[in-house]
Symmetry: C2
Subunit: 500 residues, 2 copies
């Protein structure tokens, strides 16, 4: 920041105050997923409701509005002065967006939508376990209506889906995604046809959970994740959350029948966590200091999970250790066989179990369906069949139940429309970044063989992490790789790995 | 509550809102002690500062004051109507006290005192590790001055020490404590002279920490603590915190050289935790629904730790299990020998390591010294020598270092004057309660032998836990045992256990 005016400092203080409160909310959510006793759910919801209301009060307070209006017009976000630096302009732009989101929605709408989402999640869970969507569909319908209303409040002139998407991937549009996804879809189908589908190994004995845990912690540190500034715990669904760059919490999930599940979850979350630990400390607590988009966040997890951990050099370095710890299962499994185990490709019905080749196809299906749901071209009653038909056309398999069909993901019941595409963007961005990294660091695979990830991390720190939200995702990609969103490197990466 | 007026309901809502925020603060503190990565300390302090300020804003808001002033005079707490039930009167009284505490102190004083305490703790830690108190003493002096100021703000007409004490043990006074402690002190000295001092057992092999943890969790559940409504974790110093009766968190500390340390910590904290889990749900979040005093809280931990767990019938039931799990260390240790190990009495310099006979003497020393510090009869420069002389007179041993002398406890550096006596009150109350329990439940020791603690817990739930803060501690004791604070049963209990 080059401006040292008191007013600007007070604005930063207010922003940091809001951040501390949202961090506290994140701690409560983390505890809920990882350690909270089961019967404490109601009391935790009550705590979260109060903190969330307090945060909303701070974000939309007249005090904060006065501070903000010293620098920009609350009507349209236009800056009132032109002597701001690039980062100050960006900070004010992001702050205005955040303020607008907190203040443009009528309180009654926020409360009703929150209640609706909570009910919809309940009926989604019920529908999934009974495999009967009839009670859930009306709620899904109302969620879609409310999402359209939300988009209308945010920007009545824009396409509703684009507005929703912007919350997760600033500046991205449905049209632009379609232009990238559609040709990629066909290329992936062709690619998939050329890959021999093999099955994963089956192991005789359980992989001891304590040994797995210690191995995962060792690997996490080897990748560069600091356990003085973060943790790794267990949870039903692996996730990453950050309260500050110096307090980043990861979770993973261990299975006795295969140690690969935990390792790939851990490395995936480590990718998210390394990004959070690498965000610049001087911007901590400010909107410009956050991760720039979900797509870029996912690019970090995917890069470490797929480009690093699912590479042959990685296992050349790591497998001897794994093999010696779990010799009862692995003494007769060669490095090559284990590597094939990690690279198994097989079209399936479940997104979260899918490999890196088919993963994006799950996303393309969801992107197309949710866009049509929001525009009204697809009604919820037609959704189950549309889902099944899309899977048949895309992957050649058809779900036999709703639970393994359109009920498998929680996202829509939470109102998360526009979220799914960021997973595919993550895969594409990751390949673009890694393509550039291989050019900039020609010895990178030799490093992996040695278990040395420091050059890679330094590159990511410098080009991605330290930039935080200074540039929009597309601009960031251009600065890193010379061009914005481009599926070319992703396809080339898969071809080289699975065909050549 | 018999009043269903909207105004009263709104008041309860505001109180519960304040409670949710203070619970969230407690979650952040708990995480800090148990799981937080070490370098996250600064960001956690920042979060806590914001939440604490928010809580203070709620507690002293004009909105809340208006709600409260519908029912009582903000000047002196006098109720404006006389149709309140007993519990409503008590709730309003406690609410008024809580409000007054939040609103009577000038904001600058609160901020300065908080900063001072934080500095004093830093210098206390430094002094303790270097065994040089010279930099710490001026801070202690300022803490004492500020504590006097605090008492003056709260009640300019009352004795300062009594005001401080009231924060932890409502209604108690220094004079009353002195009248109970002084004769007890002499009796304990005589008693101690008649007990043969033996040493604890020393074990050959380490007690496996995983096995200890599983044993402690089993015992915790056997006592009646619900792990669906609470947890047991590890921390440097065992403690209990509660976010709600359905979310009570305990910690303990395991040592490889002796399994007794963890077991007694766990049972001690279980006593606190069972109290918190037994507080009435319908009062959750209201001042009347909290534990009534630190003395009563400590009575619960002490009762389970000393009267239950350090009883012969308890070990008759529990020892065979312990012996079989840790047979490498215990196969040749008889039940009687192990019980003696648990009952070892030996005057020492360190409060937290002391046995149930000498524990109160550590407290009497602190009570006398801190009362004189607050009244100004003792200056901080004379404190080290006064401490050493008191130990010599009371226990016949003299600290060789300041660290094992007056620097051993954190309390004074945190401004916790008036806190220490509640430990002794806990011991005395526990004996009074257990005396009554033995009369009401004549088969209680047979229950312990069977590992059945349900009758005891039911008694405590009914007479103590479910009463929460409805009655002041002394009234509660009278209702439970027919009389208020009385050291008689405590002395009789020790005599029976250690002499007869």
């Amino acid at each position: 920041m080059t401006i040292f005016s008191t007013d600007f400092d007070f604005l930063l203080m207010s922003l940091r105050e809001q951040f501390q409160l949202s961090s506290a909310i994140a701690v409560l959510h983390w505890d809920q997923e990882v350690f909270m006793p089961e019967l404490a759910l109601q009391s935790r919801s009550d705590q979260l409701a109060v903190l969330t209301a307090q945060l909303h009060r701070l974000q939309s307070s007249s005090h904060f509005e006065r501070q903000l209006s010293e620098f920009l017009s609350l009507e349209d976000g236009q800056l009132l002065r032109d002597d701001f630096s690039v980062s100050e302009k960006r900070l004010l732009f992001l702050t205005y967006k955040q303020w607008r989101k907190a203040s443009v929605l009528p309180e009654s709408f926020v409360a009703d939508f929150a209640a609706l989402k909570s009910q919809a999640q309940f009926y989604w869970q019920k529908a999934r376990s009974s495999d009967d969507p009839s009670d859930f569909l009306p709620y899904l319908s109302r969620i879609i209506e409310s999402s359209r209303l939300y988009a209308g409040y945010m920007d009545p002139h824009a396409d509703a889906y684009d507005v929703l998407l912007d919350d997760y991937e600033e500046g991205m549009t449905g049209t632009r995604l379609e232009a990238v996804f559609q040709p990629l879809q066909q290329e992936l189908k062709d690619l998939l046809a050329g890959i021999s589908k093999n099955s994963r190994l089956v192991f005789d004995r359980p992989f001891c959970l304590d040994k797995q845990q210690s191995l995962n912690l060792d690997l996490l540190q080897a990748l560069g994740f600091s356990l003085s500034e973060g943790r790794l715990d267990r949870s039903a669904h692996p996730f990453t959350t950050s309260f500050h760059p110096k307090d980043v919490r990861l979770t993973t999930r261990y299975q006795e029948k295969d140690l690969f599940e935990a390792l790939s979850s851990t490395v995936h979350e480590a990718g998210h966590g390394l990004y959070e630990q690498g965000l610049p400390l001087e911007w901590a607590g400010l909107p410009i200091g956050q991760a720039v988009s979900l797509g870029i966040h996912e690019s970090q997890s995917r890069l470490w999970e797929n480009m690093v951990m699912k590479s042959y050099p990685f296992w050349q370095g790591f497998y001897p250790k794994v093999q010696s710890i779990f010799s009862d299962n692995l003494s007769k499994v060669s490095l090559a066989a284990f590597y094939q185990h990690c690279l198994t490709v097989k079209p399936g019905l479940i997104r979260v179990e899918s490999d890196e080749v088919t993963y994006n196809m799950h996303i393309f299906i969801r992107f197309d369906l949710e866009r049509r749901l929001i525009s009204g071209k697809l009604g919820v009653t037609d959704l189950p069949e549309a889902w099944a038909a899309a899977y048949e056309a895309m992957l050649g398999i058809r779900p036999k139940t709703y639970a393994e069909g359109f009920l498998q993901d929680v996202h829509w019941s939470c109102g998360l429309f526009g979220y799914f595409p960021t997973y595919a963007l993550g895969n594409i961005y990751a390949a673009q970044l890694f393509d550039q990294i291989k050019k900039d660091l020609p010895d990178i695979y030799t490093d992996f063989e040695k278990g040395d990830f420091s050059a890679l991390l330094t590159w990511l720190r410098q080009h991605v992490h330290s930039q935080a939200s200074l540039y929009q995702a597309d601009d960031l990609m251009t600065r890193c790789c010379g061009r914005g969103l481009d599926a070319g490197p992703f396809l080339a990466y898969l071809r080289e790995k699975y065909i050549d």
